[in-house]
């Protein structure tokens, strides 16, 4: 345990990244490897949810395939030849044109080895059956997005203890086995839905294609998918898988898109055994024979190995991207600061730094303000000083003028100058009574001249 304590000091500094790199080997059995088992037991108690959607034109065998996958009549098959009862009573009822695309849902609780699965299958009858199928994909997309919305609303509730998850985990899209690649309606559909749901393309009624034709058709379909940038669900292996699982995953991935045949009936094989399959005059095709079709691989991926990955992908990638887009569209703004790690000391230091910075800023601000005020005051004082000066000057000139006027008047009247009232600048006294006007003028001019120097 010493190792642990010595690391404690680093925890704050390294920000919680302790443990990156080679895992330490223990010297004895601790027991936390039992954790997955505890998880396992808890999830078994809780049970699983799995919602699957099937989309394709009528007559491609969707209903039969669902019934085959779950080995029970999840859907009551309408119009199978075995029933012998055509839909409706006669031709009049049979030719009602499909009024757009419906969305129907069937749920079943299935138990196997104590594991409870709440399976929901959503069907879209009427897809692609009309003459104008331009918007056939829209009701399906809206249904998927409304399930996301419902989950989002539940996530935002105050009390979140009970969240029911009915988001679509996988969408099986049925492709007609034309041999010529994808049709316009297929491409339209997939382009509009591949970012919202795990797309699992399926080649329906594969018993019409010979083995070589199947390969060619699969290649063409994949070429079309790549060309249009459509994302389909592919099982990937990560570093934790053992080589056997990796090989299995690769084998399954190589078969995508799966070419399947479904059957909810048992037929007799040539050697007398009863198998699930279809009986033709030229032979019997077995649903569970891997040489005959890819049904086994599809079931493996969907139910036995990649169920959790499908659910995870829905929750982590598809739902999250939908949520992000929706919230951004509603005007939320991302605040990046919430992502920094919580570290008390660093936070404290940071706060201090911020505080100090703030104080410093305040100080500089105040100094600047002070300086500014001082400057203002100085300017004001200077201005008033100048004003006073000029007023003083003005007053002086006025006074001088008055004095001169007085002097003039006096000299005109012939009175002697008032003593002491003459400004100091007079060079020649004006004490003589009878002054010659010319002289007087000259004197006054002198006086004037002298004064102004």
């Amino acid at each position: 345990m010493r190792a642990v304590t010595s690391k404690q000091q680093d925890v704050a500094g390294s920000g919680g990244t302790g443990g990156a790199g080679a895992a330490r080997k223990l010297n004895g059995y601790v027991g936390f490897s039992n954790y997955p088992n505890q998880q396992h037991r808890r999830s078994i108690k809780r049970g699983f949810n799995f919602t699957m959607m099937v989309v394709g034109e009528s007559g491609l065998g969707k209903t039969t395939l669902i019934n085959t996958l779950f080995e029970s009549k999840v859907y009551p098959a309408s119009d199978s030849a075995g029933d012998g009862s055509p839909r409706g009573t006669g031709a009049a009822a049979a030719v009602v044109p499909p009024a757009g695309v419906d969305i129907t849902s069937v749920s079943a609780d299935i138990v196997e080895s104590g594991v409870k699965l709440r399976l929901s299958v959503v069907d879209a009858p009427g897809f692609g059956d009309a003459i104008n199928n331009d918007e056939a994909w829209r009701p399906i997309l809206e249904n998927i997005e409304s399930r996301f919305d419902a989950y989002l609303a539940q996530e935002n509730r105050v009390n979140r203890s009970k969240i029911s998850d009915n988001r679509v985990n996988a969408l099986l899209y049925f492709i007609k086995p034309t041999g010529h690649g994808l049709r316009a309606i297929d491409i339209e559909f997939m382009k509009n839905l591949h970012t919202r749901v795990n797309l699992v393309p399926i080649i329906a009624r594969a018993d019409t294609l010979a083995p070589r034709e199947v390969e060619l058709f699969k290649a063409k379909v994949l070429a079309d998918i790549n060309y249009h940038g459509i994302q389909i669900f592919k099982p990937v292996s990560d570093q934790f898988d053992d080589p056997e699982t990796v090989a299995d995953n690769r084998a399954i991935a190589a078969k995508i898109p799966f070419a399947v045949v479904g059957s909810d009936r048992f037929v007799d094989r040539a050697d007398g055994a009863k198998v699930r399959g279809r009986s033709y005059p030229w032979g019997v095709i077995e649903v569970e024979n891997e040489d005959h079709n890819d049904f086994v691989a599809l079931r493996q991926m969907l139910l036995r190995t990649h169920t959790e990955e499908l659910r995870d992908e829905t929750d982590v990638a598809l739902y999250e991207s939908y949520r992000t887009q929706k919230l951004l569209a509603l005007g939320h703004v991302q605040d990046g600061s919430v992502f920094r790690e919580f570290n008390p000391r660093a936070r404290h230091e940071e706060e201090e730094r911020l505080h100090a910075a703030k104080m410093h800023k305040l100080e500089t601000e105040m100094a600047a303000v002070f300086k500014q005020k001082v400057q203002e005051k100085e300017d004001k004082l200077k201005k008033s000083e100048e004003e006073l000066h000029s007023r003083h000057k003005q007053m002086k000139t006025v006074l001088e003028k008055q004095r001169r006027d007085l002097e003039d008047k006096r000299s005109r009247l012939g009175l002697p100058d008032a003593v002491g009232t003459a400004p100091a600048a007079s060079a020649g006294t004006v004490g003589v009574s009878f002054v010659d006007p010319a002289q007087r003028n000259a004197v006054s001019k002198d006086k004037k001249k002298n004064r102004f120097f």
């Binding site: 007559g59 499909p98 104008n132 019409t208």
Partner: protein
């Protein structure tokens, strides 16, 4: 002929030989149009029926090829010869039919083509100096390809069939029927016939009053089989030493000539061995005549209108239209 050359023998029974000789010399035309979505097996079926590679599939080969936005009409003419009899076979393919998301009006080019051929024939017939043998480009048969496994006719099928059966002989066919078991096939055929009766779609062969007992029985058996559930193949496969034309699956081999496997033999016999001349005749007598009647009536109306207008002085110097020397301006859009 090897009839007793007695006094009472007139000899007009040699007319059949004379007609045969004429046919040998002249040969004849057969025009078949294939209507169906891409990937239904049209080209393969035609190549199987005539046991030679006559037409290439017009489907999309690479992802870069753009899906056609309209229905194109591509006729391919070849001359086939068998036992001295020559036939100028024209196969008209319709790539782009029913391939888009919105298929409204995808049948318009097809109907227009068929009517154009009738119009061309009528134009040549109406000429003052006309050829002794008019090259017959009228469509004698239309193979309409149904989707296997659908619950009967789709809305698109109903729309198109209603219009096609008015202008040509329509033979409904399921080309890739190797994905239907026998029970499913029977059920599907019954459903299709019910729906066609409901929509009053009448396909070839038609009932007519001057059929004799033998013809009637034959027609009834043919009508029973409609739509023909066939499988096409251009390859021959080795099965236990014998080479058969068929398809090899992992679970069995389909022999297209085996009647228990599919209706191919019936379709081929029906089209080529028993009803070939009937197809040509019915086209001439029923569809062409209907077209001709309606066209001439239209011309008459047009003429009446114009002469009335000219009489009223609205169109001074109106020219009464002469019998047209060019293909008539029939209005396909209004009528389809």
């Amino acid at each position: 002929m090897t009839a007793p050359e007695g006094q009472d023998y007139v000899g007009f029974d040699t007319i059949t030989q004379q007609m045969e000789r004429k046919f040998l010399k002249r040969g004849f035309n057969l025009n078949v149009i294939l209507v169906g979505e891409s990937g239904m097996g049209k080209s393969t079926l035609v190549n199987s029926i005539f046991t030679t590679h006559l037409v290439d599939s017009q489907g999309r080969r690479t992802a870069q090829e753009v899906i056609r936005k309209t229905t194109e009409i591509s006729p391919v003419t070849q001359t086939l010869e068998e036992n001295g009899v020559r036939v100028r076979l024209t196969i008209i393919d319709t790539p782009g039919f029913g391939d888009q998301c919105n298929n409204e009006g995808c049948w318009v080019p097809v109907i227009k083509y068929i009517k154009d051929q009738h119009a061309a024939y009528l134009a040549r017939e109406l000429k003052p100096f006309r050829d002794r043998i008019i090259n017959d480009t009228r469509v004698h048969a239309c193979l309409y390809f149904l989707n296997p496994g659908s619950r009967g006719l789709r809305p698109l099928d109903v729309e198109v069939l209603k219009r096609l059966t008015e202008v040509t002989n329509v033979i409904p066919v399921i080309a890739k029927s190797d994905s239907m078991t026998s029970d499913e096939r029977t059920l599907f055929k019954r459903r299709v016939k019910e729906e066609m009766a409901f929509h009053r779609i009448s396909t070839y062969p038609y009932t007519s009053d001057d059929d004799d007992e033998e013809d009637r029985m034959l027609n009834a058996s043919i009508r029973d089989l409609i739509p023909f559930a066939v499988v096409g193949s251009e390859e021959t496969i080795d099965v236990d030493g014998t080479s058969v034309r068929g398809r090899r699956h992992g679970w069995g081999v389909i022999n297209i000539f085996d009647e228990s496997h599919c209706d191919f033999v019936h379709l081929r016999n029906f089209m080529l061995r028993t009803h070939l001349s009937d197809l040509v005749e019915v086209t001439a007598q029923r569809h062409y005549e209907q077209f001709r009647t309606s066209q001439l009536r239209q011309i008459k109306e047009l003429r009446d209108q114009q002469s009335a207008a000219a009489a009223a002085g609205v169109l001074p110097g109106a020219v009464v239209p002469q019998p047209p020397t060019a293909p008539l301006p029939h209005q396909p859009v209004a009528q389809v």
